[in-house]
């Protein structure tokens, strides 16, 4: 078994990969064969064979850790003594955590609204224009950059040097050109949170634009034509025809970005490390649980995050269901 568990060199690893693929094919074939062959198999056996492995993996990889986290949030830092709601009290009452919660609220309100709005305006403006493909590619590009990458890029954009020194950051260079004093964008709270939020919007607007552009394309031509015949155009067309027609898509975009924003971690960690009152729940959870070994507090923060996401997901799912029914 040594060659299998601890392969040497490329040849050995290739062999292990082949074995793994073969194993996968055999297992899948076996399942398909067993399910397909005898005609009189009860339905639940089929369901179990297909869904069972996935359910087991979900239970092991998602449900158990989730329950474990909830349990830990009621225990002390090592998980050895029950402390009741202490961790939650700390998370909601200590000054620094209140700033964390406030920042998370700002993020989750501003990012979805602004990026959806920008995406929507952009989608309407470039729709059927001459430069549509190029314009769409341009705004979609940031989606391809990881959040850490985006954080590093934008850190350079905000870079501060005193007026007497050559500027590195674009924003401060512009300020200097205009004859103004360079600013420390990432230092002064609470404005710095908005400068971090700008990065997330930069990433997410492309996603909003893509989905919304597709939805606008899908508006039946006869509705648009009927509206035109009635003399509707410009802003009123947008207000009374476009927006109501793509409402389900708007909801999906808003909620998806909101969920993504609640989890935001990379941008904050890369750009400020949560310093200068910019920390958010996901970043604080990591810092507390893993860096400072405050597992109970970290777990409590994770649970708070989890509770915050639930209403958004419920709303999202209900909207999706409604959209299906209409169809």
């Amino acid at each position: 078994m040594d060659w299998l568990l601890d392969p040497d060199g490329t040849g050995g690893k290739l062999a292990v990969m082949l074995v793994a693929i073969l194993l996968f094919v055999v297992v899948m074939g076996l399942i398909l064969f067993l399910v397909d062959r005898p005609r009189r198999v009860p339905g639940w056996v089929v369901a179990l064979a297909f869904a069972g492995p996935a359910v087991v993996m979900l239970a092991f990889g998602l449900l158990y850790p989730g329950l474990r986290t909830i349990r830990d949030s009621f225990y002390n830092r090592t998980g050895s003594a029950f402390v009741g709601l202490d961790n939650y009290v700390t998370a909601f009452t200590r000054d620094e955590f209140q700033i964390v919660l406030r920042n998370t609220a700002i993020w989750v309100i501003v990012v979805p609204l602004v990026s959806t709005l920008l995406g929507l305006i952009y989608a309407v403006v470039v729709d059927r224009s001459r430069f549509e493909k190029f314009a769409k590619t341009l705004i979609f590009m940031p989606m391809a950059i990881s959040m850490v990458g985006a954080g590093i890029i934008w850190k350079f954009m905000y870079e501060y040097k005193p007026a007497s020194q050559p500027q590195i950051g674009l924003f401060n260079q512009v300020l200097v050109w205009l004859g103004l004093e360079p600013q420390q964008f990432l230092l002064s709270a609470p404005a710095n949170t908005f400068f971090l939020i700008l990065v997330m919007i930069w990433i997410q607007a492309g996603f909003a634009m893509t989905i919304l552009a597709a939805a606008i394309r899908a508006i039946p031509d006869d509705i648009v034509e009927a509206a035109r015949l009635d003399g509707v155009g410009g802003m009123r067309m947008f207000r009374y025809i476009t927006v109501p027609s793509i409402r389900p898509a708007l909801v999906v975009v808003l909620t998806t970005i909101a969920i993504g924003t609640l989890k935001v971690f990379d941008i904050v960690r890369t750009m400020t490390g949560g310093r200068f009152e910019t920390s958010v729940v996901a970043n604080e959870f990591y810092t507390q649980a893993l860096r400072q070994g405050e597992q109970g507090l970290g777990a409590a923060l994770a649970v708070i995050l989890f509770v915050l996401v639930i209403p958004i997901i419920v709303y999202n799912v209900r909207q999706l269901k409604q959209a299906e029914e209409i169809r």
Binding site: N76, R77, T78, E96, K133, K136, T137, F140, M141, M143, A144, I145, G149, Y160, K161, P162, S164, Q165, Q184, L186, L187, S188, A189, A214, A215, R217, A218, P220, A249, R269, T270, G273, G274, R275, F276, Y286, T287, L290, R291, Q292, G293, E294, R327
Partner: protein, 468 residues
């Protein structure tokens, strides 16, 4: 969204291809950036005499895994220093370095996949590991413990000891009580190296008086370091506590026998503030006081090269940053940059702040014990010194100082082994993580970034000290 026309589907596909291509190009561009750092071709210069290694026995086919915070070039130097051991005993050392070490080690221990050997960068982390995972960490084996007794001072042994049991052996060391400066700038201006704290402050005022424009300041500093932002400020603080309150109070402070907001500590913080929060004295070439908080510590001293500031308090390991800035810079007493000892209150008062890593084992297999003993032996220290061009010393008194290649390392080793200096280990590294890697860093950052008052800072840190 179901009614998509054929043309728009085709158009969208081109869009997707364009976007996909762009991201692929970015990935490729990102990949091509790496792989340039492996230029240093180091191997132990002298032929290895395997006689010294016979005590470890034949370990052919055995593997020891090592996990640490040391990455990049320094990791290559680490691995190079194991070569004599690997060659002579036949063992394989699997080295893994990670910048997420402090966060990942407890996770790995909890999940039952602890490394054989871990290099703990802080005694505080060692205490936490011993308290949280008493069954996982192994007491130091006999041979390694004997080495510690023979080659290290009592205080270094003490840092690796928790509740009377030796759990870790010292590895590398660094000295923090240094002020970097440019010898030629000092010579041109006719400045002398200060030998007392008062002289240092007089020199600072002198520099202010000699540079009325306000562009050139005596000091420059930077404390940004990702999520560890603030640690250079804690080093400042520790150095000053040692000077204004003395080593005994320092020990009480670190062990929380006096509160963090004790008046003696407040005096020290005010003294640090006299420099770091004084608009006249900082922050040369970088901006106002608050820029200290946003300047990367790695770049904090660079204005010295441009003649915009005169002094930068930072540890011995900062010498690597000068050569990163410009490979032609020479770090020497008559070179472009050099460092002087941060003076005590009087010339006879010589406290020395330093830090280091500690080796702990999580298994007691013979090959792990053998490697652990090797790491605590002079053979390893000498092997490490001979493959490291600069930036590494050890507190091992069996280390041959001749092997240290950079003059800075030689000076640091000299101070470290000089009996007239009172050595103390980095205080924040000894404190519990919630303080030492938490509130102490963040509050010092706030203190500088948003001009938080001394009192509020000390009270907040005291409040965060864990009760159990």
């Amino acid at each position: 969204m179901t009614r998509t026309t054929r043309t728009s589907a085709a158009r969208r596909r081109t869009l997707a291809v364009a976007a996909g291509g762009a991201s692929l190009a970015l990935v490729l561009a990102a990949c091509s950036g790496g792989g340039g750092g492996g230029g240093d071709d180091e191997s132990p210069s002298a032929e290895v005499d395997c006689a010294d290694y016979e005590q470890y026995g034949d370990l052919s086919g055995k593997t020891v895994t090592v996990y640490s915070t040391i990455v990049d070039t320094e990791a290559e130097q680490q691995q190079a220093s194991y070569e004599p051991f690997e060659e002579c005993t036949g063992a394989t050392i699997e080295y893994e370095g990670s910048k997420e070490f402090e966060a990942q080690l407890p996770v790995r221990i909890q999940s039952g996949s602890a490394p054989d050997i871990a290099y703990l960068p802080q005694p505080g982390l060692l205490r936490r590991i011993v308290a949280d995972f008493p069954d996982a960490i192994q007491p130091v084996g006999e041979d390694a413990a004997a080495n510690v007794d023979q080659y290290y001072t009592e205080s270094w042994k003490e840092y690796g000891t928790v509740d009377g049991t030796l759990y870790a052996t010292p590895l590398g060391a660094n000295v923090k009580s240094f002020v970097w400066y440019s010898p030629s700038m000092f010579a041109d201006a006719g400045y002398e190296i200060p030998t007392t704290w008062d002289e240092l402050m007089e020199l600072s005022d002198q520099i202010v008086a000699d540079n009325p424009g306000g562009d050139v300041k005596p000091w420059c500093a930077g404390i940004a370091s990702g999520e560890a932002t603030g640690w250079p400020a804690t080093d400042w603080m520790e150095d000053v506590v040692l000077r204004t309150a003395g080593p005994e109070v320092y020990d009480q402070w670190v062990n929380h026998e006096i509160p963090f907001n004790d008046p003696q500590i407040a005096t020290a913080l005010a003294t640090v503030g006299d420099v770091l929060k004084n608009e006249e004295l900082v922050n040369g070439g970088l901006g106002d006081v608050s820029t200290i908080a946003t300047t990367e510590f790695t770049e904090g001293g660079y204005p010295i090269i441009d003649g915009l500031c005169y002094m930068h308090r930072q540890a011995t390991f900062y010498q690597a940053n000068w050569t990163t800035l410009d490979p032609d810079l020479t770090v020497a007493e008559d070179g472009d940059v050099w460092a002087f000892y941060l003076p005590g209150e009087t010339a006879d008062d010589k406290p020395l702040l330093g830090g280091g890593e500690f080796v702990a084992a999580f298994t007691d297999r013979p090959e792990v014990q053998a490697f652990h003993a090797y790491l605590s032996s002079p053979e390893w220290s000498n092997a490490k010194a001979s493959v490291t061009p600069q930036g590494w010393i050890s507190a091992n008194n069996g280390l041959d100082p001749e092997l240290l290649q950079s003059p800075m390392d030689q000076q640091a080793y000299e101070l470290l082994t000089d009996e007239s200096y009172t050595f103390r280990f980095d205080g924040s590294d000894m404190m519990p993580a919630a303080v030492g890697a938490g509130s102490f860093w963040t509050e010092m950052t706030e203190w500088i970034a948003s001009d938080k008052s001394d009192e509020a800072v000390l009270d907040a840190i005291e409040a965060s000290w864990p009760t159990s």
